[in-house]
């Protein structure tokens, strides 16, 4: 995979999990450890928002912290570090998980016949649809056979795409 594609993917991932502020922090590429407070001052962003983004990056595996009690104030200080070295590992993990979930979905959709409310209230399997007499219990509209063939093709395509990214990662 070229560098650009990896960069786009990691940005997309961070944006989903840690929001725009997460992306800003990540792209700042701080050289050394920093506290949430320092970062808040430097970026002019509310400290709570910085903390939230940092913890999201932490949950993702892209940041770590150590805690140290401040001798003067007695407060716990968090010293943060972004784990740029983990970037590929995290991307790979997320892509593999996504692929696994798509495969689960694919299997279910291939094996089950679904009916869907024409107004989009619900999607139920054949047995449930029969129980409801093919009428949506919420809005009274008909429950119609759900043709998943196009979506199934799209999911397969998506899996192929992920495989390709993975093989180049």
């Amino acid at each position: 995979m070229n560098v650009l594609q990896a960069e786009e993917l990691i940005r997309e991932l961070i944006e989903r999990v840690a929001g725009e502020i997460g992306v800003i922090i990540y792209e700042l590429r701080p050289k050394k450890e920093f506290t949430d407070e320092e970062l808040s001052m430097e970026l002019g962003i509310e400290i709570n928002e910085i903390r939230r983004a940092l913890f999201a990056l932490y949950e993702l595996g892209l940041a770590e912290y150590r805690r140290k009690r401040d001798d003067e104030t007695g407060w716990m200080e968090y010293y943060w570090r972004i784990r740029y070295d983990k970037e590929k590992e995290v991307l790979r993990r997320e892509l593999l998980k996504t692929k696994r979930k798509l495969e689960e979905k694919l299997e279910d959709e291939t094996a089950t016949v679904y009916y869907i409310c024409v107004n989009g209230c619900m999607k139920v399997n054949y047995e449930q649809a029969m129980e409801f007499d093919f009428t949506c219990p919420k809005c009274g509209a008909p429950l119609e056979f759900f043709d998943s063939s196009l979506a199934i093709e799209k999911v397969k395509e998506e899996i192929r795409k992920i495989d390709e990214i993975l093989s180049n990662l």
């Binding site: 892509l95 196009l150 979506a151």
Partner: protein
């Protein structure tokens, strides 16, 4: 200001906050946060309302005197979710999803992504 006061302050300013956001903001761990919240609720200072956010249960924290509508368990209203997820395109929502124990076939977000594929390609 100690953590308890900080929580009450946040509620005063914003009216409500999700528990899952609160502990991150306060820089405390989730179990400590829920311990404090349970205590605050017992003392009648706050209310914890169970809500489902993106298919995951959490508590919405509100001041004790807030009027809370009984929130119904989130149902599979595809239409509503689809409207909410207008911007989700590209890679499926699993990419970057931090839900630890999930079943792909029961995930509303994935369902919506799938339906969009079925309709829009």
């Amino acid at each position: 200001m100690d953590t308890r006061e900080e929580i009450l302050q946040i509620l005063k300013e914003r009216g409500e906050i999700l528990q899952k956001d609160l502990w991150k903001e306060l820089n405390i761990d989730s179990s400590k946060c829920s311990r404090i919240l349970r205590k605050l609720e017992k003392e009648g200072l706050i209310k914890r309302v169970e809500v489902v956010v993106d298919g995951v249960k959490t508590f919405k924290i509100v001041p004790a005197d807030a009027e809370v509508e009984e929130e119904k368990e989130e149902e599979l209203s595809l239409k509503a979710i689809m409207e909410r997820m207008e911007e989700i395109t590209g890679l499926p929502p699993c990419f970057g999803c931090l839900e630890k124990e999930c079943e792909a076939t029961k995930c509303l977000k994935l369902e919506v992504w799938f339906l969009k594929k079925a309709m829009l390609g």
